[in-house]
Subunit: 201 residues, 2 copies
């Protein structure tokens, strides 16, 4: 006996998602058999319309319904400070703090030779172009991983080459122990960086 084809097709689609294995894909698909058709329809529509109803903002490359996006078209935001992130989700994290009043730039990834992602695959050229306009500060907030660090270094190098770096303050997020963490479990690199980045109290 085989799984009915309509189910098999759905299982296959779920399985293509990152972090969803064959067992989870089966479980989710069988679960959906017990869900009202109206819910299936709205899920189905959300999928089909996802990319049709969204664009990458032509300025910051964030996912948006409008172009420019709400942040780039907000006159109260400081256009001379650009915070560079890897993913649109990272923007949400910064917006939740309510403390950042500048604008963003989404790279949509990081340089990763292992995954065949070079500088041209992500929106670095677009950032360098933005840096030519009057910009005071670029805060690089790529992830504190090998790939994130390499991407930050690459951007720094390119800004230096283009001469933009002279007039722009280039910064990186502060590093150290996160609030609420237990020092006992902190890794050596984090602790080293926390000591190097110690502040007067």
């Amino acid at each position: 006996m085989k799984i009915a084809r309509p189910l098999a097709r759905l299982i296959e689609s779920f399985q293509k998602l990152p972090g969803i294995g064959p067992r989870t894909a089966q479980r989710l698909s069988f679960y959906l058999l017990h869900v009202p058709q109206s819910e299936l329809d709205s899920f189905s529509e959300a999928l089909a319309e996802l990319k049709k109803q969204t664009v990458f903002c032509s300025i910051c490359k964030n996912v948006s319904e409008s172009d420019p996006c709400p942040v780039c078209s907000d006159s109260s935001r400081d256009k001379s400070t650009i915070l560079v992130v890897e993913q649109p989700l990272d923007i949400l994290a910064f917006e939740k703090t309510g403390k950042y009043k500048g604008v963003y730039h989404v790279l949509h990834g990081s340089i990763s030779p292992l995954e065949n992602i070079g500088p041209d695959e992500i929106f670095i050229a677009e950032l360098l172009k933005r840096a030519k306009a009057p910009v005071k500060e670029i805060i690089i907030a790529t992830n504190p991983t090998m790939e994130g660090e390499a991407t930050a270094m690459f951007i720094k190098k390119k800004l230096n080459e283009s001469g933009s770096a002279k007039k722009i303050k280039l910064t990186r997020l502060g590093v150290g122990v996160p609030t609420g963490a237990d020092l006992e479990y902190a890794d050596e690199t984090t602790l080293t960086q926390a000591i190097e980045g110690r502040r007067e109290i």
Copy 2:
């Protein structure tokens, strides 16, 4: 800044799935932004068509494209032995063994007062009706959980009441230590049942 509405809608749909929290729902939805539209369309279609193109087999209640399902309409299967399972996925597990030649009955759940699932919410009445026809054996293969055991007991009681139990051999799956398990980590109930169910060698 809020998440663009088309994305928010998709995140909401993912979040309704069992075991998918808000973070995973966000991650999956943002991932899908980078997937070709053709893949989104086929995922979307699989969802919309899932229930339209499948039926519950009128005999065994398994999910199928045809009615009766391939197992019930297979003349080589022994119709006098019915194996009762909670979910369609359980059938796949038994079919993989290749050892079972009887037919199935899918309850689509188990009796669970905590989740407000009583005997009438699952396909027990349909099983009792099947038991009135000439059936030699009913193997109850509900899960070895509180709910699965309670469901098995309820079915036994109902078969006794209806008088069907007299002519039918009612069995339950063998219990004990699973192949490949490490005895050190086996729980007490399993070990007790394994001792009670010991076999001559």
